[in-house]
């Protein structure tokens, strides 16, 4: 066991996944430190979403190592176990529980009871109310607390989903294209929100929008054809020959 593996929060080494012969992930290695925020960019089909699927247990790697907190082998766990370990995921398309209120969406996501009988006899305590208030403050949805999630705007649904992730209190947060379809003002607000979240936990953001990545101002990993092409600051990777070629070439 290497020291890099034991000290990092997330450690991927030589991971491969193929779908019907197509190599979606090709010898991918990646390390995320505790408390780090990382942006992942790459052209369509670079394997960004597949990488998230592997980390969250939706897809199993054909080979390679995926370790969380140095000791937990994620390739042996399913989505539910991984979620309970403290890895939260936000999807590209905002998915919230539409027929629940904003409050109930957050309440469901709050850490705590998850079992069938535990939830059947669960009575919300006062502590959960304070936590929900705090999260509503952070995601700026306090005024819409009792409205149905279905009635929120697209941007607000994205924030609610981020709020639900906060309620889960994960150690690692995976965020897939959080600003797709957002207005400029909403994009800026989302960048602020993510930086605030990253102050307490590790975050991986997959994004297409370069302006947004610049705004985040963090280390960038460029994926192409299922493996890492370049890593470093945004200015560093945008100067890289290979990166320019994979984005503009072909």
């Amino acid at each position: 066991m290497t020291s890099e593996m034991t000290h990092s929060l997330l450690y991927l080494d030589a991971v491969n996944v193929a779908f019907d012969g197509f190599r979606a992930i090709n010898n991918l290695s990646l390390t995320i430190e505790r408390g780090e925020m990382r942006a992942i960019i790459g052209p369509n089909g670079a394997g960004k979403t597949t990488m998230m699927d592997i980390i969250t247990g939706k897809t199993r790697p054909d080979s390679g190592q995926v370790y969380f907190e140095g000791a937990i082998d994620l390739s042996r766990q399913d989505e539910v176990e991984i979620a309970r370990l403290g890895i939260g995921r936000k999807f590209q398309k905002p998915t919230v529980f539409e027929s629940h209120t904003v409050n109930d969406n957050l309440e469901l996501a709050l850490t705590g009871t998850r079992g069938v009988f535990a939830t059947l006899f669960h009575r919300p305590g006062a502590g959960s109310d304070t936590r929900i208030n705090d999260i509503l403050d952070t995601i700026r949805l306090t005024a819409r607390r009792d409205e149905l999630a279905a009635d929120l705007s697209h941007g607000q649904k994205q924030w609610l989903e981020i709020g639900m992730l906060l309620a889960q209190d994960p150690k690692l947060l995976l965020v897939d294209e959080p600003v797709a379809g957002m207005t400029d003002a909403e994009t800026r607000e989302t960048a602020r929100l993510l930086r605030e979240i990253a102050s307490e936990r590790s975050v991986i953001v997959v994004e297409h929008d370069m302006g947004f990545v610049r705004e985040l101002d963090v280390k960038v990993t460029v994926l192409a054809e299922g493996s890492v092409l370049a890593e470093g600051s945004l200015d560093h990777v945008s100067a890289d020959e290979n990166v320019i070629e994979s984005y503009l070439g072909r």
Partner: protein, 381 residues
Amino acid sequence: MISRFLFTGADRKVFWTIIVLLAVAVLVPALNLLLPTDHPFHVPNQIVSLVGKYLTYAMLALALDLVWGYCGILSLGHGAFFALGGYAMGMYLMRQIGTRGVYGNPVLPDFMVFLDWDRLPWFWYGFDQFWFASLMAIAVPGLLAFAFGWLAFRSRVTGVYLSIITQALTYALLLAFFRNEMGFGGNNGLTDFKDILGFSVQADGTRAALFAASAIALALFLALCLFITDSKLGKVMVAVRDAESRLRFVGYRVEHVKLFAFVVSAMMAGVAGALYVPQVGIINPGEFAPANSIEVVIWAAVGGRGTLVGPILGAIAVNGGKSYFTAAFPEFWLFALGGLFVAVTLFLPKGIVGSISSFRGRMNTQSALRSQKIADMEAAE
């Protein structure tokens, strides 16, 4: 807890329905038994048994609502659980016939004597006891639902595919129960019942008691469903319906939630079947017919799924209509049922109760907006 029931709109509806059911459980048998037949308030015998039957249908529709309305599992095989509960009670009633059967065999039911069987099959043991039959009426549908649900939900079979295999389940049972060798009376099923708990099933008092039992059981199930849907688990169930895969990433075991709802629902359907059989006096494999299960879905849809009260009203209204139509215009019933389903789908997609609630909701928002405007105008002055 009780005060919380009275405050929110949906809970209030359920609460009052429970009160009405309990009142009906007392009043209808009383008006049937205590008043002379020529009294204007006398409830005729045939109404008692007819409405008693509707109440068991309502229980079945309520059971379906728990899985379909709240968990999003469209079961097209709930009639199977109802029929299994019915068969368990039917077996008890068969064993009570004793020597009064055509062949006078003290142990074997008539159809077994007719088939030249000399011994009672092992799975008929214990059914001479009421408590055992009642237990089986709950346990057998529950176990079947557990086994079926465990396999189906774990393999993440959802949507149309799940609906189709529930149809296959009830159809397979239909074919199995038609066979004489199964030992459940083949296509004739079980009938010619005499006694239940020592009382004649034909007697007015027994009918009235069965009616009261059905109304009380329905009220209890309604309270149980309210408890489940009002809990955090109820919210998790609705979340399963809305965005099942999202919920997994929040850390909930979706398949356990579905399995719980499915098993509870199947057990409720089993009780409904067990109360149905002594009131209609027969149980045969026809109860497993896929069309029966589809009809239950129509009751729930007409009344309003996901409202608990809606499916109960739907079951009573549609079956009331059925009884009227099949007597008055027998050839038009199926057209009326089809037309009703099309009309509800087109004009009342949330069903009767769901549409009333959202209409009320709109009115309230409008009146709130109006009073807000008036307040604004007054402030401006």
